[in-house]
Structures are given as structure tokens and as C-alpha cells.
């Protein structure tokens, strides 16, 4: 189902407020709402669900105004971060809940409910646990039961609030891939909230990045990673380091030294150059390159992260180096900036 969010505002007088958010969600899409805590991403999800009434704006479900439609009638599936399973009910009763609370005329027969629950448990790969209580399940299992419960009512949209947030790293990785597969198989329009950029980039068709109640950028993972619309987006979706430069007619200088870097974006005068750690390389000290001193070295999965202070200033940047490169703290190095990005102050 297509969902249109038009100029939604919600004011609590605290964090998590929304200040004019518009977003189009396409049918069958898996979209991530990414942002730091307090950015309003969960509030937006709850507005879509109808758990929060916006102070202004509209929510359209398949071109119909759903802004004032009560939660009960929205036909959505909501999965909370901490699952919110009914702990006094068995797994079976939890999943069947949405079917049993329907008006008698629309209620499936006992047998149909039984088949449906069984099919859903197969779908979430937990066959045979119908009789257990939530207290007997692991975190990953609870998450999947919560998902099965949400899917039981055949929701028009699936809303997931930090679905993997409460799980440990390993389970999280597995479940992430599994969620994507599940989405590809069932094709539910899905919106999920996360603060983990890796999760958003790996899982979603499109990512909406929120900051202080506004959408900073919406785009595919490639778009938001490769062509960030603001320094915030750039810093939030990946490691970013920055340095002050002067830009005149496309020619960048740092502390009086010309940079041979490829600069994206156009600004005149003093500005900040943003780069990924891989956008600069360590070289032998050379008068043509920037000079720096190594302040620290960290091993990462793929290489080394070198923390360099650029002479003669106090500017510090992070540079990615190969694991084979031996770097020692205090070493004088040359730094060559390959590319970077400037943003006009908006």
C-alpha cells in the first residue's frame, strides 16, 4: 500500500518532536527511518501507526486520509523494540490474538486460526513452539513471534521499531538477512526505525535520514552514502572526517598549500572539506603533499585507521591505511587528499 506523509508536525515540548515531515512510501517498499535518538524517527513511525496524533499534517493510506483513523482500524502490523508479547499467553494465543478480537462475523473458524498460526510459525521458522510462553523463548525467537503476530492480521503496512535493537550482534546479523528475505518473499510494505546505519543501508530499499524532527535526505543506500545532501547525512551514514580549507574558483588550499584533490560541490571562500577515511592516503613526507604527525593507530577489520594531526595546524583527521602498512605513533607522514566534499551552508 502506498503511504503519503504530508507536512507532519508533532510537538511534545521535548525531544522526538517532528517539524514538518513529508515522505512518500511506495507499495511493497522496505524503507528505513534512520537517525540519532531524539531525531523523531520513532515518533514518525507511531504517527503512521496511529499511536500518536500529529498536531498538523496528513497521513494518507492508499490516497485515503487516515490521519484521524483510529489505530484499531488502520490494519497495520506494529512490532515494538522489546516485542511487547502478551506474557500470560502461549505463543499460539499471542499470534492468534489479532484474529480472535475480530467481530464475530469476520472471525475465522477455530480450524482456520490453527492453520494460520501454524503457517506463520513456519514462515518465521519456529515450528512447534505453539504451547510455549514468551518467558521460555530467546530474544531472537520473541522477535520472530512478535513479527508473526503482526503478520497474522494481514496488515497493509508493517511497522518495525528498532526491530533488532535488543539483540546481540550475531543474532542481529542473521536476523537482518532473514528479515530482508522475508520481505522479498511476502512483499509487505515495510517501514522500520533504526539508529544503526549499517542496518539501514544493508536492509532497506530506501533510507530516510532524520535529524531534529526533519528529513535530511531520502534515497537509496547508494545515494545517501555516495551523494549525501548534508554534512549530517555524510557523518551519520559512514565514518567522516573533516578539515578547514579555502576554496577559490575550484582550487582548494589548506594552510596555504594547494590540494590536488577532487572536490565535489561548489563553495567560495572558507569552508569545511568532508572526506571518508579512504579518501586520503598516507605517503612518504614530500613537499608537494600535506605533512602530518601520527597521533594514534587502530586496527579495524579491513586495515588500519590512522589518526593524523596535519602540520602546522591543530586539525586532526582519520585516514584508512592498509593493514600491511606499519605506522608508529609520533611518525612524520605525508598526507595526500584524493577527494572530498563541500556543502554550501543551508
Amino acid at each position: 500500500m502506498d503511504i503519503r506523509i504530508v507536512d507532519i508536525a508533532k510537538d511534545f515540548g521535548g525531544t522526538g518532536a517532528l517539524r514538518g515531515v513529508s515522505l512518500d512510501i511506495r507499495d511493497g517498499e522496505l524503507i528505513a527511518l534512520l537517525g540519532p535518538s531524539g531525531s523523531g524517527k520513532t515518533t514518525l513511525l507511531r504517527v503512521i501507526a496511529g499511536l500518536e496524533i500529529p498536531s498538523a499534517g496528513q497521513v494518507l493510506f492508499a490516497n485515503e486520509d487516515a490521519t484521524n483513523l483510529p489505530v484499531q482500524h488502520r490494519r497495520i502490523g506494529f512490532v515494538f523494540q522489546h516485542y511487547a508479547l502478551f506474557r500470560h499467553m502461549t505463543v499460539f494465543d499471542n499470534i492468534a490474538y489479532g484474529l480472535r478480537v475480530r467481530p464475530r462475523a469476520e472471525q475465522p473458524s477455530r480450524q482456520e486460526i490453527g492453520q494460520r498460526v501454524e503457517a506463520l510459525l513456519d514462515l518465521v521458522q519456529l515450528p512447534g513452539i505453539e504451547k510455549r510462553y514468551p518467558a521460555h523463548l530467546s530474544g531472537g525467537q520473541r522477535q520472530r513471534v512478535a513479527l508473526a503476530r503482526a503478520l497474522a492480521v494481514e496488515p497493509r503496512v508493517l511497522l518495525l521499531d528498532e526491530p533488532l535493537g535488543a539483540l546481540d550482534a550475531k543474532v542481529r546479523k542473521d536476523l537482518r538477512r532473514w528479515l530482508r528475505e522475508l520481505h522479498d518473499r511476502t512483499g509487505h510494505t515495510t517501514v522500520f526505525v533504526t539508529h544503526d546505519q549499517d542496518e539501514a543501508l544493508e536492509l532497506a530499499d530506501r533510507v530516510a535520514i532524520l535529524n531534529e524532527g526533519r528529513v535530511e535526505q531520502i534515497g537509496t543506500p547508494d545515494e545517501v552514502y555516495d551523494t549525501p545532501a548534508s554534512p549530517f547525512v555524510m557523518a551519520f551514514v559512514g565514518d567522516t572526517t573533516s578539515m578547514p580549507i579555502e576554496l577559490r574558483d575550484g582550487q582548494a588550499t589548506f594552510a596555504g598549500k594547494r590540494l590536488m584533490a577532487d572536490i565535489i560541490g561548489s563553495v567560495e571562500g572558507q569552508t569545511q572539506l568532508y572526506l571518508r577515511p579512504g579518501d586520503a592516503v598516507l605517503v612518504k613526507p614530500d613537499p608537494d603533499d600535506l605533512a602530518g604527525t601520527v597521533l594514534g593507530v587502530r586496527r579495524t577489520a579491513t586495515g588500519r585507521r590512522v589518526h593524523v594531526r596535519l602540520d602546522p595546524t591543530a586539525t586532526e583527521i582519520e585516514i584508512e591505511a592498509a593493514a600491511s602498512r606499519n605506522v608508529s605513533v609520533g611518525e612524520a607522514v605525508g598526507v595526500r587528499i584524493l577527494k572530498g566534499r563541500v556543502f554550501s551552508a543551508a
Partner: protein, 281 residues
């Protein structure tokens, strides 16, 4: 066998002091609870089962026991329901005077029961504030079983409120929200989600209020009128027998009350364990 038990008790634990704590618990429980009750049973055993049966089937005793247990169950039942409502309001809403109201719930604990009895009797007497109004509707409260019922509700209420209160605080808002997203109305959420989660605590409150009511003496005798066969409670009958130096009769009734109370409380506890079956991990 003995060695195996020793091992079980001796198992190393991060929380030490099991032996000492258990020893103290048993000693204290024996001194304060078990020895007096054993003395009571010993005294009653002098009557023999036959003697106790005869006391129990004495019409006046039977009427008093029926009144005591019947009204206690009824009062505890009503307390459980209104206790739940009061606890819900106190926990879920913020309003001026909430703290004051919260504190007022404990008053029946703190008040000497005789004071409560006299106050209730004055209020509900045919010429009292409430009694006069009720009498004009043809309802007589003071010096009838209805008066006893009101006194028992009064003393039992704090138990019903205080046992469910922490559980209401514990209910996650999200559980109610998820129920709504699944299409449940507010009434369905209440019936299928919230009440079942509170049932174990309500049963505990019920058991405590019941136990308190069965043993209540001070507040009841002032409002009951104490008419044999009509508004005479079993504890009063025990006192009457004592005043007649009929110690055997008094202990007989006491032993019967003890047995009935014990069985009732045991049944409530079993029921409560069953409603909490989901919690065992």
C-alpha cells in the same frame, strides 16, 4: 541419603547465608506462629473429633461460622474489584490530591479497629448521617449483617489496593498499544490482556482481605448488634464462650475456623499459582 541432602544444602552460592537464614526463619516462624497454633490444636484435641463435630453442628455456632466466612468472602470479593479500580486510578492518572488519596488507602490499617467500628456504627445507625438516609429507603445497615459486611470491606480494602498497585505500574504501555494495533477495542484489551495479567495479584489481595475479615473482631462488634443466629460472628462467639469459662468450646470453634481458613487460603494460593503458570521460565 543424608549425605545427599547435606550436599544440596551445602552447595556453594554467590548469595551466602542460606543455612543461617533458613534456621532463623524456622525458629522465628515456630516461636511466633506454629507454637501458639499447636497449643490451640493440642487444647482442641482434648475434645476429640466427635466433640469438635458436635460443636460445629451446634445451630448457633453453625450460624456464626456461616456468617463469618460468607461475609468475609463477599467483602473480600467486593474489595478486590473496587481495590483494582482504586489502584488503577491512583497509578494511571495524575490529578491534584492523588498522593493524599493514596495515603488515605492505608488508614484502615492504622486505625484501631474499635474506633473504626464505633465510627461506622455512628454513621450507619438509624439516626446517623448515612443510616437515616438509607433507612428512608428501607435499608437498615447498623446492627444487621449488612453492617458487618461494610465493616469487613473497610478493614480489607488496603490489602486489595496495595497488592495490585505494583503490578499495574509494571504493565507496559506497549502491551496495550500492540493490542490496539492488532484491532482490539479498549474493552477487549482490558478483558484479554490487562485483567489476566492482574489476576494473580488480585487473588493475593483477595486472600489477604479474606484472612483479615475472618479474624476481624474490633470493628464488627460495634456495628453488628450481635444477635445470635442473625448478626453474631464466630470470633465473638469464641469470646462469649471464654467469658462463660467454656475453654473447650472456645478452642473448638477456633480450631474449626483455623481449619476452614487454612483450606480456603490454600485453595486461593493454588488458584493463584495456576494463573501465574506463564511466569515460570
Amino acid at each position: 541419603m543424608a549425605a545427599a541432602i547435606r550436599l544440596r544444602f551445602r552447595r556453594r552460592s554467590a548469595i551466602p547465608g542460606f543455612g543461617l537464614a533458613l534456621g532463623y526463619t524456622l525458629f522465628y516462624l515456630s516461636l511466633i506462629v506454629l507454637i501458639p497454633l499447636a497449643a490451640l490444636l493440642l487444647k482442641a484435641s482434648g475434645l476429640g473429633l466427635r466433640g469438635i463435630f458436635e460443636i460445629a453442628t451446634e445451630p448457633r455456632v453453625l450460624a456464626a461460622l456461616r456468617l463469618s466466612f460468607g461475609l468475609s468472602l463477599a467483602a473480600a470479593f467486593v474489595d478486590s474489584i473496587f481495590g483494582l479500580v482504586i489502584a488503577w486510578v491512583l497509578m494511571r492518572y495524575r490529578f491534584p490530591g492523588r498522593k493524599l488519596l493514596d495515603a488515605a488507602v492505608d488508614l484502615p490499617f492504622a486505625l484501631p479497629t474499635a474506633v473504626a467500628g464505633i465510627a461506622l456504627a455512628t454513621l450507619y445507625a438509624p439516626n446517623g448521617w448515612l443510616g437515616a438516609v438509607l433507612l428512608s429507603f428501607g435499608i437498615k445497615v447498623a446492627f444487621t449483617p449488612l453492617g458487618i459486611f461494610i465493616a469487613l470491606m473497610f478493614v480489607g480494602l488496603p490489602f486489595a489496593v496495595r497488592t495490585v498497585q505494583p503490578l499495574i505500574a509494571e504493565i507496559d504501555r506497549e502491551v496495550e498499544e500492540v493490542s490496539a494495533t492488532l484491532g482490539a477495542s479498549r474493552a477487549q484489551t482490558l478483558r484479554r490482556v490487562i485483567l489476566p495479567m492482574l489476576t494473580p495479584a488480585m487473588l493475593t489481595g483477595f486472600a489477604l482481605a479474606f484472612a483479615r475479615s475472618v479474624s476481624e473482631y474490633g470493628s464488627v462488634i460495634f456495628i453488628a448488634g450481635n444477635l445470635p443466629y442473625v448478626s453474631e460472628i464466630a470470633p465473638l462467639l469464641i469470646v462469649i464462650k471464654l467469658e462463660e469459662y467454656n475453654y473447650a468450646g472456645a478452642t473448638g470453634i477456633a480450631a474449626i475456623m483455623l481449619a476452614v481458613s487454612f483450606v480456603t487460603l490454600l485453595a486461593i494460593n493454588l488458584l493463584q499459582a495456576w494463573t501465574r503458570r506463564f511466569a515460570h521460565a
